[in-house]
C-alpha cells in the first residue's frame, strides 16, 4: 500500500470531524490509531496534545486539519513543528471564525520583514 499516498488527519469539533470524514479521509482499524479526534467539552488538553504529536510523528500522514481554537490550545507544539510534512492547516469552527493573525504560517511570514531588512 506504499503507493497509495498519505492520509489526511483531522482534529476538531464534532461537526468538523463528521464533515471531513464524510469527505472520505477517515481510517479506523485494529492495527493503527485513528487519524481523527473529536474534541468535546470534556477532552483534556493533554489528550489533544498527545494525539497531535502522535499524528505529526507518523510518516503516513500528509496533512493535519485542526480547528483554530484547538490549535490555540497546543500552539507551542504547532510552532515547534518545523518539518514540511505533515503540513498543518488551521480551519475555523462554528463558534470561532478564522483569524489570520493567529495562524502559525502567516505569523512566520509576517515576522520575515523587519525594518532593517527593508532598508
Amino acid at each position: 500500500m506504499a503507493g497509495r499516498g498519505k492520509l489526511i488527519a483531522v482534529i476538531g469539533d464534532e461537526d468538523t470531524v463528521t464533515g471531513f470524514l464524510l469527505g472520505g479521509i477517515g481510517e479506523l482499524n485494529k492495527n493503527r490509531h485513528p487519524n481523527f479526534l473529536v474534541v468535546e467539552k470534556d477532552t483534556t488538553i493533554n489528550e489533544i496534545e498527545d494525539t497531535f504529536r502522535q499524528l505529526l510523528n507518523r510518516d503516513d500522514i500528509g496533512i493535519v486539519l485542526i480547528n483554530q481554537y484547538i490549535a490555540e490550545m497546543v500552539r507551542h507544539a504547532l510552532d515547534a513543528h518545523q518539518r514540511s510534512i505533515p503540513a498543518v492547516l488551521e480551519i475555523p469552527s462554528k463558534d470561532h471564525p478564522y483569524d489570520a493573525a493567529k495562524d502559525s504560517i502567516l505569523r512566520r511570514a509576517k515576522g520575515m520583514f523587519t525594518a532593517e531588512d527593508l532598508r
Binding site: R4, G5, K6, L7, I8, E14, D15, T16, V17, T18, G19, F20, L21, L22, G23, G24, I25, G26, E27, L28, N29, P34, N35, V38, G62, I63, L65, S84, I85, A87, L89, I91, P92, K94, P97, Y98, A100, I105, L106, R108, A109, M112, D117
Partner: protein
C-alpha cells in the same frame, strides 16, 4: 596593512573565499589572479545577481501569499457551507442521527494526498481518490477471464472492493442536504491540499530569502 586601501583589500580577501566556495577550481584560480579593482567589480556584480534573485523570490512569496489568502477564503466558505448542510440534514433526519454515534468501527479512507517533489526539493500535494482506478482495471480482466475459462467458471475477484461511501453510515436513504454536505467537504479537501502545497512553498521561499540576505550581508560588509 595600515592604509585604508590595504584594509579594504584585506576585507575583500576575507569575503572572497566565502563566495568562492560555490565556484569550481578553474574559475577560482582566474578570480584570485584578478587585480583589486577587478575583484571589487566582480563582488559588486555578484551582489547585483543576488539582489535580483532575492527580488524575484520576494515577488514569488507575495504572489503565493495572495493566492493563499484567496484559497483560505474559499476553504472557509466551503467548510461553513458544509456545517450548515449538516445542520439541515440533522433537522430532517433527527438531531442525533448525524454525528460520531454513526461512525463505524472500521473505516477505510477513500482520499489520499500524494506528495511530489520538484527540482527545488519542494513538496506539492495532489489529492487522489482510492476508487479512481478500480472500475477500469476490474472490467477488462473479468471479461478476459470469462472468455478463457468459459461461462461456467466465475472469475475470482482479484481486487478488493472499493472503500465504502461514508454516506452509507447514516442510513440507506439519506437527506439530500447530507449529500450536498459531502460535496462541500470534498471541495474543501481539494482546497486544503492546495493550501498545504502553498504553505510549504512559502516556507521554502522564506528560508531561501533568509539565506540570500545573509550572503548579501557578507558581501556588503566585505566590500564596504
Amino acid at each position: 596593512m595600515e592604509t585604508p586601501f590595504g584594509a579594504g583589500l584585506a576585507n575583500i580577501l576575507v569575503v572572497l573565499p566565502a563566495r568562492l566556495a560555490v565556484i569550481g577550481q578553474p574559475e577560482r584560480r582566474r578570480l584570485l589572479s584578478l587585480s583589486v579593482t577587478e575583484k571589487r567589480l566582480w563582488l559588486a556584480m555578484a551582489g547585483q545577481d543576488l539582489r535580483k534573485e532575492l527580488d524575484s523570490l520576494l515577488l514569488q512569496l507575495l504572489r503565493d501569499l495572495e493566492e493563499l489568502e484567496a484559497k483560505r477564503v474559499a476553504l472557509n466558505t466551503r467548510v461553513e457551507e458544509g456545517w450548515l448542510l449538516l445542520a439541515k440534514a440533522r433537522y430532517v433526519m433527527g438531531t442525533k442521527s448525524v454525528g460520531p454515534l454513526q461512525y463505524p468501527s472500521c473505516m477505510e479512507p477513500r482520499v489520499f494526498v500524494r506528495a511530489s517533489e520538484n527540482q527545488d526539493t519542494m513538496q506539492t500535494f495532489r489529492l487522489v481518490r482510492a476508487d479512481a482506478q478500480t472500475p477500469e482495471e476490474v472490467e477488462p480482466r473479468e471479461a478476459a477471464l470469462r472468455r478463457r475459462k468459459g461461462p461456467n467458471k466465475s472469475p475470482e475477484p482479484e481486487l478488493s472492493a472499493a472503500p465504502q461511501d461514508p454516506l452509507n453510515w447514516f442510513g440507506i436513504l439519506v437527506s439530500h442536504s447530507l449529500r450536498q454536505a459531502q460535496a462541500s467537504f470534498q471541495d474543501a479537501l481539494q482546497l486544503a491540499a492546495d493550501i498545504a502545497s502553498l504553505q510549504i512553498h512559502i516556507d521554502w521561499c522564506q528560508n531561501q530569502s533568509q539565506g540570500l540576505r545573509e550572503k548579501l550581508r557578507q558581501l556588503d560588509s566585505g566590500a564596504a
